[in-house]
């Protein structure tokens, strides 16, 4: 009975066919170079905007004393939020034995790594003195939530990177002999990163053990990073941020933007990498249900966050809510709540809407709305502090993001795209050995019957 699956002919056969399909995309072709070229040029243009900011100070942004956190912090929250999807897919669904997530775990981890890695850089773009970043380590005070954030985001990034890399090792070993015609450096990288993997049972055993530990470890870590991010706001006494449900409110929202991101990536890889065989309608159907579920949970937290203070209408809460419901931010607010959350849920309940293309369109709207949602959490609260803003220039009264600020934000998004591109183009984007294993097991079961 202890006969290992990894030594059967059936497994080897499956491995051949899957690796052929997947490795077809692992190459440095014209499309890749052109795309990376476009990204690099746009990144350079956007980084030029950052040099202006470095030179002249944060005054080149729309930020002023009243609204001193804006687009950058909103983007930071959005990035941290989106990165949580790695934990939801690999751990929560993976540990509960969900089989259909196998082909998308790596996509989810790539998204986790890319967004978590750039989130830290976004914070630096918001700093008045980025040159003093090392002070966080030299003079860090443990009671500041910023210290907690720095600690957990780095840890989360590292563990996510491991969760991407460890299941990739067998794939690297499988692939390195199948990479004829690829540049030598790539084969060399595969050789080094495959850490002498020989498909030995003992190796699989160690890998499964390591993965188990990491998959359990990442759950509290992921909760920690986004709860702490929410506490950057919730620990302040400001009306609109001073909320006890900010932790779960942020986490539930994180799953919405993350799931949308994974769906967008799935669709892209399915079409571009011709992976219809592995990312099937069935997978879209399933992940569509996940999106509906997490959106419904998020709506529930939104109801709590707005209805409870809306019922009491305490002076400053009332001013804030009025700004959102009927005031300056009303269009954005209702747009995000309805088009970005309620309507998508209604649509997702229809089976036809969970087909790849409609699901992609819904996800794009949800994903974009998720960014604006973070903007609405960060910005409007500061426009109405407890004491009135008086005797200042007009620019200081209402926050309006500038082009420079938008460009620097774009730079961070381009960086995310670059990381995703590199990780998904130079390495197999769906796990070859796991899919072969899955297919072989299914075939075996059928034969036994």
């Amino acid at each position: 009975m202890a006969r290992s699956l990894y030594n059967t002919d059936l497994y080897r056969e499956k491995l051949e066919s899957v690796s052929a399909d997947v490795l077809r995309n692992v190459r440095i072709n014209k499309g890749f170079l052109v795309w990376m070229g476009i990204l690099t040029i746009s990144l350079a243009a956007c980084l030029y905007a950052y040099t202006i900011q470095l030179q002249k100070g944060l005054g080149v942004t729309g930020l002023r004393d009243a609204t001193s956190w804006g687009m950058y912090i909103a983007t930071f929250v959005f990035f941290v939020a989106t990165s949580l999807i790695g934990m939801l897919i690999s751990s929560v669904l993976g540990l509960s034995g969900t089989k259909w997530i196998k082909p998308i775990t790596r996509i989810a981890e790539i998204i986790a790594v890319a967004f978590a890695a750039v989130a830290g850089l976004v914070i630096i773009s918001d700093m008045g003195r980025p040159d003093r970043f090392p002070y966080l380590f030299l003079y860090g005070r443990i009671q500041s939530p910023i210290l907690w954030d720095v600690t957990v985001v780095t840890t989360y990034l590292f563990v996510s990177l491991m969760l991407w890399f460890i299941p990739l090792i067998p794939d690297l070993a499988i692939s390195k002999s199948r990479l004829e015609g690829r540049p030598g450096f790539l084969i060399k990288i595969y050789e080094i990163l495959s850490v002498k993997w020989v498909n030995h049972d003992r190796q699989f055993q160690i890998m499964h053990q390591a993965m188990r530990i990491l998959l359990i470890l990442i759950v509290p870590l992921a909760f920690a990073i986004h709860t702490v991010t929410s506490w950057l706001f919730a620990v302040t006494p400001r009306a609109g941020w001073d909320s006890t449900i900010f932790g779960p409110y942020f986490i539930s929202g994180a799953f919405v933007s993350g799931t949308a991101a994974v769906i967008i990536a799935m669709y892209f890889f399915r079409e571009n990498y011709k992976l219809q065989k592995y990312l099937t309608d069935f997978h879209f159907e399933k992940i569509g249900r996940v999106l509906a579920l997490v959106s419904i949970i998020y709506i529930y937290f939104n109801i709590n966050e707005f209805i409870v203070p809306g019922y009491k209408l305490k002076t400053h809460e009332a001013i804030h809510l009025k700004e959102l419901f009927t005031g300056h931010y009303a269009w954005l607010f209702w747009g995000v709540q309805l088009a970005g959350l309620v309507i998508p849920v209604a649509l997702l309940l229809i089976k036809r809407m969970r087909k790849p293309l409609p699901l992609l369109l819904i996800s794009i709207v949800v994903f974009a709305a998720s960014w604006f949602k973070r903007y609405l959490i960060v910005v409007p609260v500061q426009g109405h502090p407890y004491l009135p803003i008086q005797n200042v220039p007009v620019e200081w009264m209402v926050y309006k993001p500038t082009i420079i600020e938008t460009s620097v934000t774009m730079a961070s998004m381009i960086l995310v795209l670059m990381i995703i591109t590199i990780l998904s183009k130079l390495f197999p984007v769906v796990p070859i050995w796991e899919i072969a294993e899955e297919e072989a097991t299914v075939n075996e079961e059928i034969e036994h019957k």
Partner: protein, 324 residues
């Protein structure tokens, strides 16, 4: 060509001779200069010895920083300039045994804005950059409007200090909350946390950046101000160290501000220079603190705007424009 070079030419000899003579010349000069400097040094040294002996025994009594009276000989006295480090050490310690408090009598404020101006000129701020600002307040439609000077409240439970990740903003033993611009990383978490909007940020190069460039940074004055860092009201920590009243307090023409030491239970009015009992002043006038319900425990007390001897007129509002 090569033959010509190998031939010992007359030109080369000439050059050699010139070089030789200039070398001798040079050595002579060096010798002269050397002798002269030895003589000069000897003269200077004997002069120094003479001066030294003349002053021997002359001493002077000086008070050290830790309040000891000591005697040193006069010749050993050097004028020193306060450097950033010494500013930092005393700026972080605060003044032992003191608990500074401010009382603001709203019934007397007519929005003269002299406090604002004095503060801005002391701390090198632009007209729209505030450590203290006077606001027009109105609690509700039926209650009267009044003017309210608003400095930092120097809370005893300061939210800004709690959230600072690098110990740039801190609470001193004498109750003052300061910000160290040499440490601040510009994350603005303190601004987000402050319910009184008491903090400002240098979004651009500070007003006097060029002129102040070479001054040692005084954490008790926040000068030179620094781009990309926070600045805030300091209760004029540099002035109270010299037993003087804060800039805003002494600039007020209307007797709005009282400032003093809670431990001594006395506060002094900046205009009349009259010193009164702190607790009595609060008790007799129904004093309160801003947003006491937040639990921040401010060190600034307000006396309500009752029995005003003037009519409230808002006057013309000046227009503020961003400048570089």
């Amino acid at each position: 060509m090569s033959e010509e070079i190998n031939k010992p030419g007359s030109d080369d000899q000439e050059i050699d001779e010139t070089l030789e003579s200039s070398r001798r010349d040079f050595l002579k000069k060096v010798g002269l200069v050397g002798a002269a400097s030895v003589a000069g040094a000897a003269a200077v040294y004997s002069g120094y010895r003479f001066e030294k002996n003349k002053n021997k025994g002359d001493t002077v009594k000086v008070l050290t920083e830790d309040n000891r009276l000591v005697e040193v000989s006069k010749e050993e006295i050097n004028d020193i300039k306060y450097q950033v480090k010494s500013f930092q050490t005393k700026g972080r310690d605060g003044i032992k045994g003191k608990k500074w408090v401010m009382v603001i009598d709203l019934s007397k404020c007519r929005n003269a804005r002299k406090c604002v101006n004095a503060c801005q000129s002391a701390h090198h701020l632009r007209p729209y950059e505030y450590h203290i600002n006077t606001l027009v307040m109105q609690e509700s439609v039926n209650t009267p409007k009044y003017f309210m000077p608003k400095p930092c409240q120097h809370c005893d439970n300061p939210p800004c200090v709690s959230v600072c990740p690098v110990d740039a903003t801190y609470k001193r033993q004498d109750g003052i909350v300061l910000i160290d611009n040499e440490r601040c990383i510009g994350c603005r978490f303190c601004m987000a946390a402050c319910p009184y909007s008491a903090r400002m940020f240098h979004w651009q190069e500070p007003m006097n950046a060029e002129e102040d460039k070479n001054k040692p940074y005084n954490v008790e004055l926040n000068v030179p101000q620094k781009k990309g860092t926070i600045s805030k009201c300091l209760f004029s920590a540099d002035r109270v160290r010299e037993n003087a009243l804060p800039y805003c307090v002494s600039a007020c023409p209307n007797g709005v501000f009282y400032f003093g030491d809670e431990n001594e239970d006395s506060v002094t009015n900046g205009t009349t220079k009259e010193t009164v009992s702190f607790s009595e002043l609060l008790e007799k006038n129904g004093a309160y603190r801003l947003m006491a319900e937040l639990g921040t425990k401010p060190r600034v007390y307000y006396l309500p705007p009752k029995n005003r001897i003037f009519d409230f007129t808002e006057g013309e509002k000046p227009e503020y424009k961003e400048t570089t």
